[in-house]
Symmetry: none
Subunit: 209 residues, 4 copies
């Protein structure tokens, strides 16, 4: 049976899980190249060799770390859009959940920024898998836009390409927010502003009055 280690919260996890956790933190903090086997195994409190034993090599661990966060992310976005009264609020709820997830330090969002197909991923098979998962994010938003167009809360627009623009906006907002030391005003405000911006851009104006 596998040995276990304790996290800071006294939760008991296997060494394999401890490695993944450490990897998520470090890849997010330092990026792929600057994160070394030594740093990871040290932080996980685990022998160096376990890394390749459990994950094969550094790239695969990187991928596993990214996928773990991405899957969590998708689950959060799904439950955020479920149960919204109409398309427009579905869209806005999606955006709010996106931005909140990205600033929550416990989600290890940063590793996704580093490891996403937008970035340095090499292994094309894994890249493929990750792109498909990312496409689900896109699709989720597209559904809400379609719904909004149908129920009249969203202005007439092409759902698929608008979804792409909005996801682009989220990505950009994030990079601006997460990676920039300078903030022009608080992040609270910045995200509120971003949501307002999206609402102005897609709302049909029906429920403003």
């Amino acid at each position: 049976m596998a040995d276990t280690v304790k996290t800071m919260n006294m939760k008991t996890i296997t060494k394999k899980e401890a490695l993944l956790q450490a990897a998520k933190e470090l890849f997010g903090e330092y990026g792929f190249a600057e994160t070394t086997f030594k740093k990871i195994s040290d932080r996980a409190g685990v022998a160096l060799g376990l890394l390749t034993h459990h994950y094969g090599n550094k790239e695969k661990l990187f991928f596993a770390a990214g996928m773990d966060v991405l899957e969590h992310f998708l689950r959060v976005l799904c439950s955020a859009t479920e149960g919204t009264p109409d398309g427009l609020s579905g869209v806005l709820s999606f955006c709010r959940a996106y931005l909140e997830f990205s600033i929550d330090p416990h989600t290890n969002w940063l590793v996704l920024v580093r490891c996403s197909p937008y970035s340095d991923m090499k292994a094309s098979d894994d890249r493929e898998v990750m792109l498909r998962k990312f496409a689900e994010v896109h699709h989720l938003l597209e559904q809400q836009l379609q719904r909004g167009v149908a129920d009249g809360t969203v202005t007439k627009l092409t759902p698929s390409s608008t979804a792409q623009v909005i996801v682009g906006l989220m990505v950009g907002a994030n990079r601006t927010r997460v990676l920039t030391p300078y903030t022009y005003g608080s992040s609270e405000n910045f995200y509120t502003e971003t949501l307002t911006f999206v609402e102005r851009a897609v709302s049909s104006g029906t429920n403003r009055s």
Copy 2:
């Protein structure tokens, strides 16, 4: 007198310039960590030792490459906004120039994506300098928004934070566009869509009718 090398277009440039050119290409293609001195000097057709001789070390070369592209970028944005009839068209012209610059392969835009303060840059002094240059981009857009609010072509909004949102949108659109193999429709359409989106979000509606 410095020796010179010939580029593919038969232009004569100094070896120092050849190194910078090769660096821009390679850092853009492979990122900082994957770009080696050997790759750079090989592509430039120049001795390895010249690299440290002219640029000191790898970080400084990375910075020089990024700054070179950023300065070019700023000049292009400036001339794009100059001479526009009103604030709204200034804003849209800015966005159009931004997106066009980013897809032109000759601009080596990618190195900026990699080297920007949004990304892996370490050396804090250089980071400082580059952030200030990036702030000029932001400021340029903010001016156009202010002008638009004043001349009535732009809806009432906070120019500084809206500028930030729009720049975020540009960044995100770019990442989506430049680094993703999948395109949901052509990039032509995607950029047009992005511009429409911005217009919808900031226009006062005055000249829609």
Copy 3:
């Protein structure tokens, strides 16, 4: 009671035997250094830990694999020389059996080539044991030569050193045959040629006429 595994021929063998079989194949194919515990246990379909459990360590397994083949080899050579009418045919029968054994893929001859004292074996005790077994091969041939000299079918020669030369020839023929991709003519011919060569070199000429 030991668990068992099934080979491809549906034969039931113990896990210990499965390990030895896999070891013979892999050491023959890849040599000592390139054959890992993992490869062996994978091919045998058996847990990694059983290897040290049953065989102590890698060197000992290597030795066990070599000895297994060598003992089989000796039995085959013995029965090939038994019952031959005279010394010369004993010698030729020995050579024919040697060459046939070496090209039969089921004998795992290759592991002997790799593991023989002609090659990389370290552990001096085992080396000693194996050398003695190899000396029996030599001795077997020497006996046939002596017999041939006595019965007049073999020309006057020193049996011990001629035996050494002939064994050398077998070794060389094998290496040429087994490990070279290029064949100058078929292997059938090459071995026939080798046998003719031996006959020319040792025959007294009595039965040529």
Copy 4:
């Protein structure tokens, strides 16, 4: 200009040459797997990194070491057969030179035994090149056999396949001689015996009387 080191004989050679020399010695002594970068650079008195700098990687150095010895070997065989009075003495001179080369400690013959295509070489391109060089050895002997058949000093036989058998005999004799600690009689005698064996097998008997 390249730095130099001094060998034990006070000869001045470049560090690149010193590496090759150390490699020839160590690969011959320990084989490929047991020879480490550290051992090589230590014996050469040179920094570890120079190995990959000059030779790319371990395999390529292995190949370079083997080729160096093989080329020397071919030159020696050529001059041994040149100027022989007839085919039979050409053949015997070839064999004598072969065996002498193989026991001269200064020729680093052993590395050829380890690195030859008879053995563990991986890289198929290099393998190809080396096989072609080995074929030249074969061809040299074949020419002498042909010449012998023509001038009547060699019995009627197929030169190409007999050449292969004789080369096989040389290879086998070598392995027996070089790698076995036990000698059944002195090596002097063994080689003389081997030559007598060859003579008996190919001579037409013309000059025996």
